[in-house]
């Protein structure tokens, strides 16, 4: 007798559905893990490797073969020369061997290098280990025969084979904590972190407050509202590189219109270097961030505002609430949900922002944030390992934020 009751576990229909779901998701999962997960793991790997930009090319053996002595008739003496070198200035190549077909019409005259031997028309040399930057010239004295001139060939015509085991720095088992030490070393890291936090917090808050104002402006129907809404989105929609250069030009210390305007209005006596002076540059990039992203906040807030039922305001009006009171006691509490979600998401995104500061100041004048530091370390100082270490720090911060975010999001519906 079998139990009678509701079925347990997954039935065949549910299994088919799950299989289909995974089938539909597989391409995405594959693509994303190839370009997101794998690189992330790679960043962790690189961050503990002593690797610089120059190490990215695996060390190679370079060989050039030629015949010296200009033999003109049979019986002339000449030297068969192999110039050998390790292409990498730092990495070692082990167990280097050279193999080459012995050129027809040449005979050995004198001593062969002890590491080499000639057998069955083949030259074979065991050259041992080469440290970084190793160079050597191998000279083999030869006598030419008539056959050499008959063939009329050059020694470089047939390729030389050189084998060796290069240890590629990204693949070997050399690990170091130096990257992390150099990241945290000195006061630089903390000042970078401070700048990042300033930029992130004020950029996010500023964009949200501006967005709130813009949303309140446009939460009225009037002629031309659509046009204004479109116009106010321009900073966000335009390519960042275009608007960043427009800002740089506008605030140029020598030929910028903003400076000319300020001088003309008597606000300042001499030209101000907006993106080049220490505290001002940070304020400017934060202002740029606010300017560029207030449209996004305003769109979200406006969407939420338009869904607040108007009868609440009518009731408040009847009860004698003034416009400011209505805003403070009705609109704000209604908007609190979207505002907090927006704040968290924008906070993370501003923290991750790279292009804006990179284009405006390149991280100079006290505006270097963590993301720009990754680029600086990896490409300007060409220390890829240190760049990856900064990236790991960024990723750690991100994980911290997202734990907070998901805790919060489970309470907040929407988005």
């Amino acid at each position: 007798m079998s139990d009678i009751g509701p079925p347990r576990g997954t039935g065949p229909l549910a299994r088919t559905e799950a299989r289909l779901a995974w089938g539909l998701l597989t391409p995405t999962i594959l693509a994303v893990s190839l370009v997101v997960i794998l690189p992330l793991l790679a960043v962790f790997w690189i961050s503990v490797k002593p690797v610089s930009l120059a190490d990215l090319r695996a060390p190679e053996t370079v060989v050039r073969e030629d015949l010296r002595g200009r033999p003109t008739v049979a019986g002339d003496e000449a030297t068969l020369r192999y110039r050998l070198r390790n292409s990498s200035p730092t990495s070692e190549i082990t167990g280097v061997t050279l193999t080459d077909t012995w050129p027809e019409g040449l005979t050995l005259a004198g001593d062969l290098d002890p590491r080499c031997e000639i057998a069955e028309g083949e030259l074979f040399c065991d050259l041992g280990d080469w440290e970084g930057g190793y160079r050597e010239t191998l000279n083999i004295p030869v006598v030419t025969e008539q056959a050499w001139f008959d063939a009329g060939r050059d020694v470089a015509d047939d390729p030389v084979e050189v084998d060796g085991k290069a240890s590629f720095v990204l693949a070997n088992s050399d690990f170091t904590m130096k990257n992390f030490v150099s990241v945290f070393d000195g006061g630089e890291f903390w000042s970078v972190l401070g700048v990042t936090l300033f930029y992130t917090i004020f950029g996010t808050l500023g964009a949200m407050i501006m967005g709130l104002f813009a949303a309140m402006l446009l939460n009225h129907s009037f002629k031309g509202q659509g046009i204004l809404r479109g116009l106010y989105l321009f900073p966000y929609v335009a390519p960042v590189i275009a608007v960043a250069f427009a800002w740089i030009l506008l605030f140029d210390p020598f030929s910028g219109s903003a400076n000319a305007l300020f001088v003309q209005m008597g606000l300042t006596g001499q030209a101000i270097n907006f993106f080049g002076e220490k505290p001002l540059a940070l304020l400017m990039v934060t202002a740029f961030e606010i300017w560029r992203y207030f449209p996004l906040s305003f769109l979200f807030i406006l969407a939420r505002m338009q869904s607040i039922p108007t009868d609440m305001y009518e009731a408040a009006d009847m009860d004698g609430a003034s416009p400011f009171q209505q805003f403070w006691y009705l609109s704000l509490p209604q908007l609190l949900g979207i505002l907090s979600v927006l704040f968290l998401l924008r906070f993370i995104w501003t923290f991750n922002k790279f292009d804006d500061i990179f284009l405006l100041t390149g991280g100079n004048a006290g505006t270097r944030v963590l993301t720009v530091n990754v680029y600086e370390q990896a490409f300007a100082v060409s220390n890829i390992g240190a760049g990856a270490a900064v990236a790991v720090v960024i990723f750690g911060c991100l994980l911290l934020f997202s734990v907070f975010f998901f805790k919060f999001m489970s309470k907040e519906e929407g988005l």
């Binding site: 799950a18 539909l24 998701l25 994303v32 960043v43 608007v243 030009l249």
Partner: protein
Amino acid sequence: MKYLRFGYITGPLLGVLWSFVLAVTVAVAMSFATGEAFRPSITGALIFGIPTGLALVWRAQTVIASAVLAVVYFIALSLGIGPVLTGNVSLIARVVAALFMGIGIGWPLVVYLKDLPMGALTRHEFEAAVIKALRGFGYVFFTAIVVIPFYVMLMTSLKNQAELMQNPLDFSIDLSKGWGLFRSYVELITEFNFGTYMWTSFYISVLTVLITLLFAIPGAYAVARLRFRGQAAFSRSILLIYMVPMIVLALPIYIAFSMMGLRNSIVGIVMIYPVTTIPVALYMLQGYFRGLPSEVEEAGLMDGLSRLQVIWKITLPLSLPALASVSLYVFMIAWNEFLLAFMLLDDPSKFTLTRGIASLNSSEIPRQHLMAGSVIATVPIMALFLGLEKFMTKGLTAGSVKG
């Protein structure tokens, strides 16, 4: 606050503040338009704003107020007094400035002050007037900050270096040059290959959109509709991946592409762009799919369609508007993308538009070329955006807080 709530105080106060706001606006606008010396004055705003405010609380009539103020400001400008001071500017500039001041101060102030009595105000009346004034200020302020950078971009591209160095404020364009105004655009296209860059950017963006949709539609459908273990975790990890900063990924991608020889190739770019947009698109689409009534799909299943047929014949036609906004959004991201293009492309024949502009940023190339390049990159995306604004706004709010 209580002491402000009298018509004879609120009126002049708003009068002064608004006069000053307008004075600054007109001074900036006139300076940018003509390059001549206009500047606002606080004392002028004080002297002219108080009587204006008082008069408008007493009797408010738009046309009369504007006309009277325009005449007053023309005289004031000519005499060199008032909220806007000028040096020696032409008559036309003075007339235009006075007209702007008259209408710009008269009309809005009448709207702000028209319902106010001379004596004590209720809190409601007072705050309504203040809010109207704030709103007026908001329109002026936001429009100014949005328009000025784009105006500078456009006008710089039409001028030449020497003119700009001489007077950085003079954006008036010399119409007599005719087509010569567009010299930097012509040079960009003929000498700097910008036509090719535009085409490259265009087809890379279109390919990105297509590939993104190809991956995101089935994925989003599975997350939104099908039940399987780990569904909740999956939709969360989409959001999480969406938050990984590009610069963190750019480093290993750069290394991997260098080693595989994919750097400096369009193929590499087309491989990498969609992956950055798939999570966004997936997130936006699954939100939309969830909102579709599942009964329609179930009816389709009952009538003998398979799941894939249901997606193709029912879900996709129903979600065309969402597909349009997702496509637009993805197109925008791909078109504007800078970091990856900058890191991965070195060969000028393969540049995208943004990479091309970055290459113009050198001291040897005149500024107007840089700005002309910026205009070339900005105009198509703006046109697309304004034309399809409804989809775009929807797409932006549908779940993308990405920047």
